[in-house]
Symmetry: C2
Subunit: 307 residues, 2 copies
């Protein structure tokens, strides 16, 4: 892996970095880039808009830092490692769109694109807490809950690029909280930053975001402690279901809410082990990311080199 560019695309902005072969971030910048289909009417218009928005942010940075390739973690589903976007929940007009190819024409360099949570899994396995693991389940705890899976040293994408909808595993089968996907009882409705803030408000009457809930828990606020512990317990339940199917040994977790590790991890491990079949109990290790929110960016750098 030579020195490459890496991009991690969020809802409203884009992080760009120059990453060295050993996973060191040499330069970094944060740019506004609002990806949305809002107001667009045709697929073509939506395609042009996403290419222009990304190029506008990337071109000045790449001119300052010339490299042979860029890897991008993108909030969407991709067909295998083709860089073809199958679908993106937030950009419904973009379907079966050759994003990597089109962006490559625009930028004049090699472009690799993959799902953002899968990039985080790749980064964590190459450089982070999952380093050296042949199989790894990586969970991203942010506004939503995502997952990425490495099986036999390869990123696993599924038949339609939609594998690891980890946040939509059902952890409450009756009268569960409503989820953004239209179902109810999904993990994301209990363990995302949004859900933690919302459940804390319902329990305490206090409006606070997930970061503030964490601070309140540190100060001993009982409802805050309890909501975070419950998020951990639901996470443990969803990990148990995944392990009963895939018999994995290594799980890593990144994202904002993972910083509340001391409040999440004990209940997570208890529920995980309770829910496993007896011979698997005690065999699964769950670790926080060791990459300070850079897992996705570093995974994007990896795919720029291998794809």
């Amino acid at each position: 892996m030579t020195r490459v560019l890496a991009a991690d695309i969020g809802g409203t902005n884009l992080r760009l970095a120059v990453v060295s072969e050993n996973g060191t971030i040499l330069e970094e910048g944060r740019f506004e880039a609002r990806l949305s289909s809002h107001g667009q009417t045709s697929q073509k218009e939506a395609q042009t808009c996403v290419i222009q928005t990304l190029s506008k942010a990337i071109i000045p940075f790449m001119e300052q830092h010339p490299t042979p390739a860029i890897g991008i973690g993108f909030p969407g589903f991709f067909h295998g490692n083709s860089g073809v976007l199958a679908a993106s929940p937030n950009l419904p007009l973009l379907e079966d769109f050759a994003l990597a190819e089109r962006l490559s024409e625009q930028l004049g360099m090699h472009v690799a694109v993959q799902n953002d949570a899968l990039c985080a899994a790749i980064g964590e396995q190459r450089f982070g807490a999952g380093k050296g693991k042949t199989n790894l389940l990586h969970i991203t705890l942010g506004t939503g809950v995502g997952g990425g899976l490495i099986l036999n040293d390869s990123p696993y994408t599924g038949e339609h690029g939609m594998a690891m909808e980890f946040g939509h595993l059902r952890v409450v089968t009756k009268h569960g909280r409503e989820c953004g996907c239209g179902n109810s009882g999904c993990l994301e409705a209990y363990a995302s930053a949004t859900a933690v803030a919302d459940r804390f408000y319902l329990a305490s009457g206090i409006k606070a975001d997930a970061r503030q809930v964490f601070k309140l828990a540190c100060d001993g606020n009982k409802e805050a402690v309890s909501i975070l512990a419950e998020a951990g317990s639901y996470l443990g339940q969803a990990i148990a279901e995944s392990v009963k199917l895939l018999d994995l040994e290594s799980v890593t977790i990144s994202g904002g809410l993972s910083h509340a590790w001391e409040f999440i991890h004990p209940s997570l491990m208890n529920t995980l082990n309770e829910n496993l079949i007896p011979p698997l109990r005690g065999k699964v290790k769950v670790l926080p990311s060791s990459l300070n929110d850079n897992a996705g960016l570093l995974g994007a750098a990896v795919i720029a080199s291998i794809n």
Copy 2:
């Protein structure tokens, strides 16, 4: 694949067959072989007993039908494709036991052994309703509920040979029925033959096995119809969880209860599609085995040739 022997080991008997290269069963026999650790005190005693019990059934058949190899579907967990038994829930004294190697010494022929449900998946993918699929989830509906997974054309075993504990996916998260594994709310407690018989008795007061419940459903018995439809619905829920993780397109089902397809399949598909994230709805095909309860036997023949 040349002509080989294949064995499928149940709780109290063992099926043996000669299988041709194209998956035709040329000869078949059923033999009593009760595998149990009952009364045994040492690991060595248990090992000797399982080798002797299997040899006693296999040797006369193999002498009549000489072939270069035998493949065996066995109720236990194996380390990869090594033929080393990691553990067997029904034979707790057998741990990390080189079953294939020891049996090979005894029989004087090549022996391959793999988990019975995984053998059924292998058979279904090579010769049955999953023929030609690169990825396949196969479910066995018998006394228990098992699962076998083919990913990228290879049997998937997991880190400790314990992948696809499909019957122990949790389909009821609160106040669920107790399961033999010690947990509650497992799929097996709702969709196994045992569970169907038990739930039918609780609903109707009539003692009947799963086969009789199916017949009663055919005769229009409302409780029988409803218990089978509920089994289908819980199956759909567990398949949905698997698909949300693995984005699979092809699912096949074998085993006694799969014969009640007309009562199971409609509710299974409804619940499956309801529980999937919207872009995956309608993409998953669920088919009954096309191998007349021979999926496991044919899969055992396949592993005799490839291992």
